[in-house]
């Protein structure tokens, strides 16, 4: 019988898993809520190392929309001062987060938020960022290359302190109805620096997970093209079964949960959550290359971090139904 870690590795390597893995059973997630020195604060409102003011909500951090630090992308060198990564020490954060980590049972998974697009949005606001992508593409590309250097330097620090098996790069490039920018704009302006981040991750021996919420299916071929083998948060507004057929053996999907449906709304019943658990396993499990990642928010935040009485039923339902291979 495989351990959760071994089973997940079988899924990631398109081998012979024994069952559909569940994110939180097979992975120990770190970094996201560490309140470390390289990204936005996670415990209370405050400035990140670039000087961006963030608000901490129960659903996550969000930059203050009235206090952006960059107006014109062509002036980024004047206003964006990259933190000194040599001075960053993640060891205390790693020690705190790895106390109960069992490397025999789980894969250590570091969540690194604020990818290239999200970080530029945090600097200049969403509208200015998007306008810049099409009106000043050269300046954006130059900025993204510099930001990729910073992200890679941070990644090396993360690798040194945590030694993660999996590095999750978060960059939400899509709405519920489609990508924010055209796929061609992504290709021309963001993809080259994005590829460097993927390459650097692989050179460090970590498995790269690309987290992109929303309907981003038009970017997936580009993701595979730059070496991404796992797409995370795969939400159901994308044609997930079609994607599984198209990318069979090339890209694992993690997600499959109806994040806006009845099961994800406040007050959804335990039965509705159980039914969604079964649906996701039955619909996406048989093609393999699938990791179930439920996203259940409640009044206090993400239930998997803050707890929820309904989770016991979800885990039970998963355990009863996941052994389909």
């Amino acid at each position: 019988m495989l351990t959760p870690k071994q089973n997940l590795l079988e899924v990631l390597n398109w081998g012979n898993p024994e069952y559909v893995p569940l994110t939180f059973e097979a992975m120990k997630i770190v970094g996201f809520l560490s309140n470390g020195p390289i990204e936005s604060p996670t415990d209370k409102d405050g400035l990140d190392p670039f000087g961006v003011l963030w608000h901490v909500t129960s659903e996550g951090c969000i930059p203050d929309s009235s206090k952006f630090i960059l107006e014109d992308i062509t002036e980024w060198k004047e206003y964006i001062k990259f933190p000194d990564t040599d001075a960053i020490d993640l060891k205390p954060f790693a020690e705190a987060e790895l106390k109960d980590f069992d490397s025999e049972q789980q894969m250590l998974t570091y969540y690194h938020p604020n990818g290239l697009f999200e970080r530029l949005s945090a600097f200049m606001g969403f509208e200015e960022c998007l306008i810049s992508l099409v009106s000043e593409p050269e300046a954006c590309m130059e900025f993204f290359e510099a930001l990729a250097d910073y992200k890679i330097a941070c990644m090396k620090k993360i690798h040194k302190a945590y030694k993660p098996d999996i590095y999750v790069y978060l960059d939400d490039l899509a709405t519920a109805r489609g990508t924010f920018m055209s796929p061609q704009t992504y290709r021309d302006v963001i993809k080259p620096a994005h590829k460097r981040i993927v390459d650097a991750c692989k050179e460090l021996g970590m498995i790269f997970f690309q987290h992109t919420c929303g309907k981003c299916e038009d970017l997936l071929e580009d993701y595979v093209d730059i070496g991404i083998g796992v797409w995370s948060s795969a939400q159901i507004m994308n044609d997930l079964t079609g994607i599984q057929e198209r990318f069979n053996g090339r890209m694992v999907i993690e997600g499959g949960w109806d994040t806006v449906g009845k099961c994800s709304q406040l007050g959804s019943s335990a039965d509705e959550i159980r039914a969604e658990t079964r649906r996701a396993i039955n619909e996406y499990g048989p093609r393999k290359g699938f990791i179930l990642q439920p996203t259940l928010l409640n009044e206090r935040g993400n239930s998997l971090f803050v707890g929820d009485d309904r989770l016991a039923g979800l885990f039970e339902e998963w355990a009863m139904n996941c052994r389909i291979y």
Partner: protein, 209 residues
């Protein structure tokens, strides 16, 4: 007249640097300010439809809106002296408990581009603030409410209920946001629902027709 057509084309193409000069040339040609404004509104209708159909994306829509905004700046002094040609006032905000401004801002831009005056109350707006603002501006035609999270859908419902219970009338309530559907909009008693920013502008005009 030819300059008006050019203004329209350049707004569609998002040429913010060219539009103000062309608007001035159109005025010099003898075109009226309301006619030029109408041409720009029509251009943004085209842009909104292209966005809703997936032909263009948010950045292209934004650059067109910015081009129109630059043109409107030229027209503003003239429009102010000749009386308003606005479609009316829209009060906009993201409901209490929700800090997301992206969708709300895009809708604001498109509704402004459709010829409405907009008061944007920002994010995390309490029900009382919506009610106070409506009382201060009884001429309001549309109250547009945004919620991005499944966890703030109840807040959207409470806001609609709160505004209805205040007894204030004379305006329509338009709702939207990632988890919002037509069914949910109907359930909470909104007058209209729009799935994206382009559709929101169309729906706002429908609601006041």
């Amino acid at each position: 007249m030819s300059k008006i057509i050019e203004v329209k084309e350049k707004v569609e193409a998002g040429k913010a640097k060219l539009v103000p000069g062309l608007v001035q040339e159109a005025l010099n040609e003898g075109c009226s300010a309301p006619d030029i404004l109408q041409a720009m509104v029509e251009a943004m209708d085209v842009v909104g439809n292209k966005f809703s159909s997936g032909e263009i994306f948010v950045p292209e829509m934004l650059v067109s809106a910015r081009a129109m905004s630059k043109g409107v700046e030229v027209l503003k002094p003239i429009l102010a002296s000749s009386g308003s040609v606005s479609n009316g006032l829209c009060i906009m905000g993201t409901v209490a408990g929700d800090l997301h401004d992206i969708g709300k801002n895009l809708v604001t831009i498109m509704i402004e581009s459709a010829g409405f005056d907009v008061i944007d109350l920002g994010v995390d707006v309490p029900i009382t603030k919506f009610i106070e603002t409506i009382k201060e501006h009884p001429e309001v035609k549309v109250l547009a409410l945004s919620a991005l999270l499944t966890t703030t859908m109840p807040s959207l419902r409470e806001t609609v209920n709160g505004v209805r219970e205040s007894g204030l009338t004379g305006f329509k309530i338009l709702v939207g946001g990632a988890p919002i559907t037509q069914a949910f909009a109907d359930e909470i008693g909104a007058d209209g629902y729009a799935p994206d920013a382009g559709s929101a502008a169309v729906k706002a005009k429908e609601l006041i027709a």
